[in-house]
Amino acid sequence: MATLDSKVPKGPIKDKWTDYKDQINLVNPANKRNIDIIIVGTGLAGGSAAATLAELGYNVKAFCFQDSPRRAHSIAAQGGINAAKNYQGDGDSTYRLFYDTVKGGDYRSRESNVHRLAEVSTNIIDQCVAQGVPFARDYGGLLDNRSFGGVLVSRTFYAKGQTGQQLLLGAYSAMNRQIGRGKIKMYSRHEMLDVVIVDGKARGIIARNLVTGEIERHSAHAVVLGTGGYGNAFYLSTYAMGSNATAAWKAHKRGAFFANPCYTQIHPTCIPVSGDHQSKLTLMSESLRNDGRIWVPKNMDDVLAIREGKLKPTDLSEENRDYYLERRYPAFGNLVPRDVASRAAKERCDAGYGVNKTGEAVYLDFAAAIERYGKEQAHVKGLDEDDKAVIDKLGKDIIKAKYGNLFQMYEKIVDQNPYETPMMIFPAVHYTMGGIWVDYNLMTTVPGLYAIGEANFSDHGANRLGASALMQGLADGYFVLPYTIGDYLADDIRTGPIPTDIKEFDTAEKNVTEVIDKLVNNNGTHSVDYFHKKLGKIMWNKCGMARNEKDLESAITEISELREEFWNDVKVPGNADEYNEELAKAGRVADFLELGELFAKDALQREESAGGHFRDEYQTPEGEAMRRKEFQYVSAWEYKGAPKDAVLHKEELVYENIEVKERSYK
């Protein structure tokens, strides 16, 4: 039986990473030329890793399913990236960022990894500025910061509401430089369908060219997965339509343990569902909670009148509104962490106070901020501070300057003007903290197979703080993996090129081809989306914001039945040897149908509430999450043929540098 060894270096936490770097094996420049690395996924993690490893001299082959590496879904991240620069002089430090991240993750992440993340966070900002990333600046020409949920300092760097885009384009530009030099060979519109293991080591992948349908063999000395999260198991989410877990799941089936699948982030501020045709959900950045106040009506009569259109939210007086986050969490108010804010919205909507037709929406209101900014501006400009029209105009100008693109996006989708009436928002699946288990080196339980960025599990525990995903993706790709992978590859300097005409590649390719043939020849009666939507409903209703034993048990049964139905009855039009999006989708949904069941199984065994995982049975009398000491471990699942047979391994989490206490935002 495989055992988990996190390989955390010895020594004080502040010195671990430095000492580690001093002691690892290095590969000399001449030998790097003889070593190949495959990187799957070209988002912030994969893109930054590909560029950096190519700069170091390795031969990199990078793969993405989009038409260009620039389109990976990191591009959609809006709000910002955290770094412990302390440019604001407000008391930030590496330790603070480490502390906030561990606490924000509800004490379910690995201390040493998080500390390393906080340490390299400042390098990321330096690197990105050097690349020409146009971060927001103040009038003195220095970098500006904003504040995000769950912290008491301003450490978030941003580029309007498009920070992910700018950071990704930075990584993409670094990749382009290496593609131009021939050090990265880019395979876009390619999907990885299996990882090939030779003598116990990851030595290549099987990929499908999505344009021609051709199945290709690619070998390397190490394989890196930067393939993102699995939130699309819920069908509706803020992920891109193509975001999928196939690479991660295939790796799991080849021996990589899958950790904490039940830890999912459900983001509090998304545009509510409008109908059955809905294909995806749109996020409204967390930065809006800096100025927006969240509320529902206090009285049920008002709720009903609003739903029937007889009452406008703006007509409701202050005393008839329930600003429930400010009421429940006076210290953090509207800036509580995401899991807390989402659950509080669900609590109000479950109690019947939802403000749209479906009863699944709360208000995010900017009227108070417009008035406050308006008065400030009127004062500054020497205008009448009691003139409502003046204040309204000045206040709206400020809000427009800060959030204009988000307000415009909202108006396009909902057809309501958020400057005049409060936004309606509801939580939606947004990020997965769980993922492939990795050790301190970011290596999975398969030697030579690495997982970076959202694809791995390690840094965010049970809940991720805002603006930390971009930080982790770039930390892994720019500053961590390039060291740790060298230590492993130092043993491969004499290996020579890995051949692809060996039996391991034959077998892997045969397996892939068989599945594809089965799918295109199935001639069932229902489309892929039919099954995906059904899976999404089960996941959302039974494995969503709050879970309980009964629901989880029935989810496991229902998902496994749905999976059987899928394989008997799915209909995939077209052929395997052409561009065929339905075929690509079918393969991804087939994997979600397995992953979803493991997800429920993991949630069922975790008899506690922590971060994004909330069990109805384990809550405090005030309805807060109840963590339990006996669950202070990472659950790492080993594949054994079917999700129900997966074997649980536990990595105990030890906190030596931070006191584990009640996570309170009151």
Binding site: A51, T52, E55, Q66, D67, S68, R70, R71, H73, I75, A76, K85, N123, Q127, V129, A130, Q131, G132, P134, F135, A136, R137, Y139, G140, G141, L142, L143, K160, Q162, Q165, Y172, S173, A174, N176, R177, I179, S188, T238, A240, M241, G275, H277, Q278, S279, K280, Q408, M409, K412, I413, D415, Y478, F479, P482, S527, D529, P573, E578, Y579, E581, E582
Partner: protein
């Protein structure tokens, strides 16, 4: 609402391609344009016909993947949006809608509404970067103050999503708005100065090599750009090119 759709179907790059008519009976004004196509595709699959291939991914207007010519306009009616942000409330019951792929010789059709835009990647590979290795020893991010105005202008240029609407809209299939935006981003920042001359020359010559046309200042690209990238960027690129070549 009821719609008649006239959609370009083309099996592969070498196929001739033609417009095919489809009817949809029950379209909700709250649907996005792509969700309307999802409904059509679902009907086609149910009827054992091949669904319409189109590029799409983030569906929130930032990845730049979606790319359709709708009633003769890139990304359809309405300003400053991509197709995925276009909602059916912009159309009326009984409308006929023409849907075609981007048209440009540098963007060959792959299938139906999908075109190959790797020419854009190759232009970036020719010089769309600052040559700085990852080290952790680059200087502190605040060591060079940058005027807020320059940083904001660089950001406005950098918001380009690389969708190709500018090329598709231009009667010359010019990519100068796209290239100008990238050249401008770096030209406006101190970090971009060292390689400025080579960058603009390399990117422009790759642009020409890919078969994109020249700019004749009609300004159609700026009108159709979902991110409102300004023509100023083309002027700046020309200025940079002039600076680099006249010594």
């Amino acid at each position: 609402m009821k719609l008649t759709l006239k959609i370009w179907r083309q099996k592969s790059a070498n196929d001739k391609g033609k417009i095919v008519d489809y009817k949809l009976d029950d379209v909700s004004p709250d649907m996005s344009f792509l969700e309307m196509l999802d409904v059509l595709n679902q009907e086609l699959i149910d009827k054992d016909e091949e669904p319409i291939a189109f590029d799409h991914d983030c569906r929130e207007g930032i990845c730049g993947m979606c790319s359709m010519y709708i009633n003769g306009r890139a990304h359809g009616p309405d300003r400053s949006i991509t197709v995925c942000q276009l909602h059916m409330r912009s159309f009326s019951d009984g409308d006929t809608i023409y849907i075609e792929p981007w048209r440009a010789s540098a963007f060959p059709v792959i299938k139906d509404l999908i075109v190959d835009r790797t020419a854009f990647d190759r232009i970036q590979q020719a010089g769309g970067f600052i040559s700085v290795n990852t080290s952790g020893n680059t200087q502190d991010a605040n060591s060079i103050p940058i005027s807020k105005y320059a940083a904001d202008d660089a950001m406005d240029a950098a918001t380009c999503i690389g969708c190709g609407a500018c090329v598709a809209t231009c009667k010359n299939s010019s990519a100068m708005l796209f290239v100008g935006a990238k050249v401008s981003q770096y030209a406006l920042l101190p970090q971009g100065q060292i390689e400025a001359a080579e960058r603009v020359q390399n990117m422009v010559s790759q642009m020409d090599l890919e078969g994109f046309g020249n700019c004749t200042n009609t300004g159609a690209c700026e009108v159709e750009c979902p991110k409102g990238i300004s023509l100023d960027n083309i002027a700046r690129m020309n200025r940079e090119l002039m600076k680099a070549t006249v010594k």
